[in-house]
Every structure is written in structure tokens, then in C-alpha cells.
Symmetry: C3
Subunit: 320 residues, 3 copies
């Protein structure tokens, strides 16, 4: 039984094969339209996340499979006091694979210990959201051709943003990736990322406050939202907020082959006038997210080589 609880559950080699499969799917999704005929995914969303839930559902339907589940806890047995362990043993009787979103860190891991079917962590509190990271990695790889040799700017709330932490932790495994960490002082990356991840891997990184100054050197700009309430004072917020809003003026400072990513939803941190810039890749990213989830479902179900046997089996050593 294999699960995906953290993006680091996959080795670099396993990930390469998963992303190869996702690329093969992206070229002709219809080729994979019946691989999961008769299979079911359970989407257990203990807190709402429409985008993520529908991405999993679209992925499974694209593969010929079916969907059941719930979109918020009030509709679930959790409100009657059932444990996650019991719920997943029940769901194991209903479905072939499960995507679980839960407000509590570690809930999907607990589920995986009792489950008879593969569990995909679809976000557990501020902890992990591995399919977002897989999506980010596929997007960078498809746009640039490789996950090696580039400079990525990560901009916004680097302190609380779990997608940023996961992405950094994944990218340090590739060659010659330089990190430009762009945030207000109070929202810098936490020590355990700076010391235990970046420094421990001898990565090249800088911490800066100003997006504008960083723009010219970036190959990828990964934007996230800065929430007003995260600033120490209103004055500080007013002084700095424009630093972290991407608009066409700032885009003009970027390379012609730089790409902008965002995990979405965005509120106002990317101005809508950027949407028409060819370098805006955040909606393409959504499409890649469906393909990478299709690849993941196939892999965890052991169906990854059914269509294309030349894609060798992907997740041999993935630890449950």
C-alpha cells in the first residue's frame, strides 16, 4: 500500500518518472480516458477547498473513474464524533483511493495507518499540501524543460505559507537552483527552512524586502498573498504592501522568458493586467495540476504503465 503524505515521499527519480507520466498524459489525455474504468476516488474534504477537490475529481473522471465524498465536515460522520481511523476503514470499503483534506496536521498520516486504500494528503492544516508542490514542479519543468539551473523568486508571506516551504524543500534536491526570498521582515522564512533546508543543502539564497529590485534576475517568480493582519502595524502594512503586488510595471523589469506562478486563489497580489502577459503561468498551472493528479492516481493504483509501458514503474520504494 502506497500513499502520498509529503512531497518528499517521492525520491528525485520517482518524481522524474511521475512527471514524465504527467507529461505523456498532457500530450493526449484521451489516451488515458479508460484506465480507471470501474475505479472510485473518495474526496474527503473536512474543510472546503473547491479548487483542490475539483482538480482531483476532474483527474479521476478524465481517467474514466468515478467520484464520491463530501466537501465539508458538517456533512460527515466526524460531526458524530467518529475518529479519522474509523472513517477511513469505512471509506476503504467504498473506494479505491482517497484524497483527504483536513484542518488538523497529521490527519492524513493517521488515516494512512488504518487504510486499505492509498491516501493522498490534499492539505493538512498549515503542514503539507503535496499535490500543490507536484503541480508547481511540473509547471516549472514544463515551462523551462528542467528543474535544474535556474533562479526562483518566492515572494510574499514566506513565514506561514506552506506551499512555499514545501516547494523550497523539494527544489533543494535539484542542481544549481538559486533562491531569492522576497518578503517583509516579519514574514521571512522560518529558521527551520533557512537552516535545516537551505543551508544544510548548501543552497545559494538571498533574503530581500523588495520585489522590484529582485525582478531582473529571476527565471521563475512564485507569488503568494500577504495578508494585512500578518503585519506588525498598519503603518508597516501601508509602507510595504505595494512591494508585494505584481503589476505590469514590475513585469517590465523581468526577463522575457521569466514565468509567474501562484498557487491560487489570488486576491490582489497580482494585478489583473498581468493576466494577459505571456509570462503569466498561473492558469496553465491549474491545468498541469489536473495532469499531475492523474499521473499520481495512476501511480498509486499501480496503473502507471498500463498505457505507456516505456514509462517504468514509478513509485517502487514509496513508503506508506
Amino acid at each position: 500500500m502506497r500513499h502520498l503524505l509529503s512531497p518528499l515521499d517521492l525520491s528525485v527519480d520517482e518524481l522524474a518518472r511521475l512527471l514524465d507520466l504527467a507529461r505523456d498524459i498532457s500530450k493526449d489525455p484521451s489516451k488515458y480516458g479508460h484506465v480507471c474504468d470501474g475505479k472510485k476516488i473518495a474526496t474527503l474534504f473536512y474543510e472546503p477547498s473547491t479548487r483542490t477537490r475539483l482538480s482531483f475529481e476532474a483527474a479521476m473522471i478524465n481517467l474514466g473513474g468515478q467520484v464520491l465524498g463530501f466537501s465539508e465536515a458538517s456533512s460527515s460522520s466526524a460531526s458524530k464524533g467518529e475518529s479519522v481511523a474509523d472513517t477511513i476503514r469505512v471509506i476503504s470499503c467504498y473506494a479505491d483511493i482517497c484524497a483527504m483534506r483536513h484542518p488538523k496536521e497529521g490527519a492524513p498520516m493517521v488515516a494512512s495507518e488504518y487504510s486499505h486504500i492509498p491516501i493522498i494528503n490534499a492539505g493538512d492544516g498549515g503542514h503539507q499540501h503535496p499535490t500543490q508542490t507536484l503541480t508547481d514542479l511540473m509547471t516549472i519543468r514544463e515551462l523551462r524543460g528542467s528543474l535544474d539551473n535556474f533562479t526562483i523568486g518566492l515572494c510574499g508571506d514566506l513565514k506561514f505559507g506552506r506551499t512555499v516551504h514545501s516547494l523550497i524543500s523539494s527544489l533543494v534536491r535539484y542542481k544549481n537552483v538559486k533562491f531569492v526570498l522576497i518578503s517583509p521582515k516579519e514574514l521571512r522564512i522560518p529558521d527551520y527552512i533557512r537552516d535545516d533546508v537551505l543551508k544544510a543543502n548548501n543552497c545559494d539564497f538571498v533574503e530581500v524586502e523588495n520585489l522590484e529590485q529582485a525582478m531582473p534576475e529571476l527565471d521563475i517568480l512564485y507569488m503568494t498573498r500577504v495578508q494585512r493582519e500578518r503585519f506588525f502595524s498598519e503603518d508597516e502594512y501601508l509602507r510595504m504592501k505595494d512591494f508585494y503586488i505584481l503589476d505590469e510595471d514590475k513585469m517590465a523589469l523581468g526577463k522575457p522568458d521569466m514565468y509567474v506562478l501562484h498557487p491560487l486563489p489570488r486576491v490582489n497580489e497580482i494585478s489583473v493586467d498581468v493576466d494577459n502577459d505571456d509570462r503569466a503561468a498561473y492558469f496553465k498551472q491549474v491545468q498541469f495540476g489536473v495532469y499531475v493528479r492523474m499521473a499520481l492516481i495512476l501511480t498509486l493504483l499501480g496503473l502507471d504503465t498500463v498505457v505507456n509501458p516505456s514509462l517504468a514503474h514509478v513509485l517502487d520504494s514509496l513508503d506508506a
Copy 2:
């Protein structure tokens, strides 16, 4: 890219072809059971409307397609501040067509401007609900054989009822339709319907207060609900409420080939003893609603001539 935002997006000719297709479907729905194999509809319901949502879902499933979506805004990304424009660009990566219900007027139109897939307005505030109008038109056409040459009574709240306004606006395009507008004075049709639609099209219409007196001349009676709180005073409500409740006594005054329609849900404006009258057509109307939505989905996806090539392409000039 074609959308359906208002019932008037369809010309009389286009509508005739759509209703021909719906009729063909109604004769043998199973013939169309696989036309949408591999297709998905997204049902984005920012406010609950079970009947409408399930009608779209049944329609898509009847065509061999699949469904994803949400049934109320609390489960959606809207609660995180995402714009409709962003949401629909995301959904465009997940589905082939979208039915959107939204409490704000114009939201589906905004969506259509950013969407890569056809948008069907499934009701936007008090504004439009075009598939209800298509349902009403199909029902009248199937029951009477034609949309020309008949007298329709529209009874109840004619001031706020959007289904009534849309139906009138559609019917003025047919020949020799006479309108009997039956309502309390304070719930008469608004000026922009009376002047800009009925008078502007030289239609024959009368405004009356009493359903009983109007009954004998009607070919179609379209009932809607009169809400107590819409009356100026409790006295007025008590004096008039029975005028707008259809029962078997009033039915006895109607023609033997008159039909009663209602957009549902009804509360008490049609007495349940009318349900067994052969002229009660409001549940047949629900069934026609599924067929006309099947025809609409096929048409917007360009699949309307797949099964029956003799039904010429329907919506050539439909404006997105």
C-alpha cells in the same frame, strides 16, 4: 465559444431548432446516451437550487457525461475572496461546459468573458433564468403543437417574478399570442415589460385582478406564487389571496384543453386536488426541462447533429 446568458440570445429560428432537438431526445433519450461520453459539466451553484442543479446533472448524465461542482457558496473558493473571473478560468481546466447560478446579476456574463468553455446562466439574482424559459417554451410547444396563436394567462406576482418577465419577452416574438396578466394591483408587471416589450411589439394584452373571471378564455395558465409580504397590508392580503389560489373549482371554469404550468416549487398557490387533473402540466414541465437542457448542452458543445444530422446546426449566430 457560445454561451446562454439570456433566453433572447437565441433567435426564433435557433430556438425552433433547439426545441426540435429536445423533442427528438424526448422520443428516445437512450439514443443520446453516449453523445457526451468523456465530457464533464461543472455545476457552480453559488446559491442552492436543487431542482435546477439536479436537472442539469440529470441532463449531462443522460448524455453519458459526468458532473462536478458545488451546491452552495460556502463550499467554494468565493469564500476566500476569489473573483468569478478567476474561478471560471480554473473551472475551464476541469470541465467542458458550465452551468452557473449566482445571487448577483451579471455574474454569468462576467464569467463568459473569461471562460474557455460555454457558460449557461442557471439563474442570476432576479435577472435571468433562461433554461426555465426554454423549459416553459418547450412545454407549451409540446402540449399545443405550436408557439403561435394562443392565449396565455400569467397569474400571481408579475412584478418581481423573473420567470414571468423572461417568458413574456420570449413569447412576444411569436404570432398572435394574447396575454392576460392576472395580479393584485401592487404586483402588476413593471413598466419596462408593459411598455418596452408588450406595447413595443403591438401585443394584445389585458391586466386583470381576478383569476376566476379570466379562466374561460385561457389556453395556457402560468401560475406563480404570491408572497404574503409583497402585499401593502394584511387586510389587502386577506381580501385577495384566494383570487390567486388555483383549485378544482376554478379549474372547472377553464377550457378542456387548457394547460396549467408552474416553474415550481409551489407552496399553496395550486391546490393539491388539481394535481390529478389531466390539464395539470407542471410535473411534465420538469421532464421537459431535462430534455431541453440535454438539447442545450449538445448545442453549446457543437454535438447537436451527431445523432440526428437532419437537425441542422442550431446556434450558429449565438453571441458569446
Copy 3:
């Protein structure tokens, strides 16, 4: 038109044939994977019950069919004042069969009177929950080989627990079933079960307070939850609560071929250390629940002999 409103709607013979079909399904579910191609079940859940809803949905999908519906009343037309009678006439236009959960006793029966499609009562208030009873009966039959000649202990809240009442009412129809009713005094079975069901059928039964003492003679132990607020006093609760918590110490007193059932969700009335005991059958029960619902759907749709003609038609005389 046939419905399932109460477990007693099925005669002993009909039930035997239904359980034979469920057993045949359990041996090779894939054989039944396309029997309901093109069919739809509507799951109308006016109150949430994830386990039951998903069991029906999994059952229908396993048969090749599709699902539509709602998981709580706030998403339904009920909130606009529509009657169950009207709702089911609408749903009859959308689906081929309906599973209804409703907080009011008798709602599914009312629905059945107006429906054009089979209605399955998926729980109506404290009244009936017949598919739970079918699940319980299948579990006992599969584990023991027969529904005759055994001793069943029913433990916990026997006063308010509808699953217990339904199960007793069904089991009295079999030969030589002995009942051990284990509960605090204030939560004993009601008189109408003791007198009109057990005594009226000349059943062998005893009422006891202590699970431990009853254990050695049981072939089946059916556990249910005892809610704190159901006790007369806190003192009484503290004195008695451990009597009704099943743990490995109590399991040690049971026969080696005794089985433990529970309708789930459990809270703390079965200690988790019991889960690994081979005699713990409550998660197997969940799987049987899917198979028996598959058999029920096939039966009510008249498709029960499509795959295996030797299973004679099941529900000939079932009364709508």
C-alpha cells in the same frame, strides 16, 4: 412500483433471495459492474449521514450507474417550503431510484405514495433504517452461515436505538434465536418490542444489566452506544458506564467463534484494542452493507436476475 420502507416489507423468503443475490455479488462484484449502466440513483439526504449516503453511492457506482442528489436539507428545495410529495415527483423525472434520509418519521412513505420510481428509506427519524437491518442480517448470515439457531446479545441503549428494534423485529422470524438484552434499567427495550414482538412470537429472551456476565453464551454481540445524557443521574452513569464498554478483557470471556457487530459510528463503546481481534466484524459489516445495497437496487429495479438467472425473482409480493 416497489419500495423498501421497513425491513418487514420483505418476507423471509424474499429476504433469503435478496441475501443470496448479495452473496453472489460479494463473490465477484465486477460481474455486476455494468448491470445499471445508464441508471441513476438520487440520494436525497435531508439530514447528513455520510456513511449511509456513500454506501448507496458506492453501491450504484459499482453497478455501473450514476449518482445525483444532496447531502443536507439546506441545499434542497425543502428550504423553500416544497412538500416531500412535490420533491419526489420532480426527482422521478431525474433518476431511476431514490434513497431518502429524512428527520421526520414517515417522510419516505409519503414520498412512495407520489413517486414514479422506487423509494428506499435510508432512515426516517427514530423510526426505521431498513438497509442497516439488511446489512446486519447479511453480516450474521455470512459469518454464521445461517440466521437460525444462535444467541444474540444486544448491548447498550435498547430504548431509543432504532437499529436494535428493527433487528429484533426481523430476527424473531427465524428459528431458535435467543435474545440477551443488555442495558441499564432506564434504557431497556420498550414495551411494544418486549410484548408485541418478543413475547408475541414466543421468543426466548432475557434482560440483564451486565455485559460481562452475558458474554460466555453469545454467538453474536451487537453493540450500540450509550449516551451519557440518557442516564437518570451522573452517579448512575459513572457506576454503569464501564458495563457497556467492550474491551479485550471482556472479549476474553466470549466464545472463540463469537462475532461483534456495531452499526457505526462508534465513539468509545468498543475499545480500539478490540479492532484487531478476529471476532471484530464491524468493518466487514460495512463492506456487506455495500453488497446488500447493490442487491437491493438491482431487486427494486427488476434487474436482480440479469447476471445470474438462477437467483429467482426476489421481491414479487413486496408492497409499495
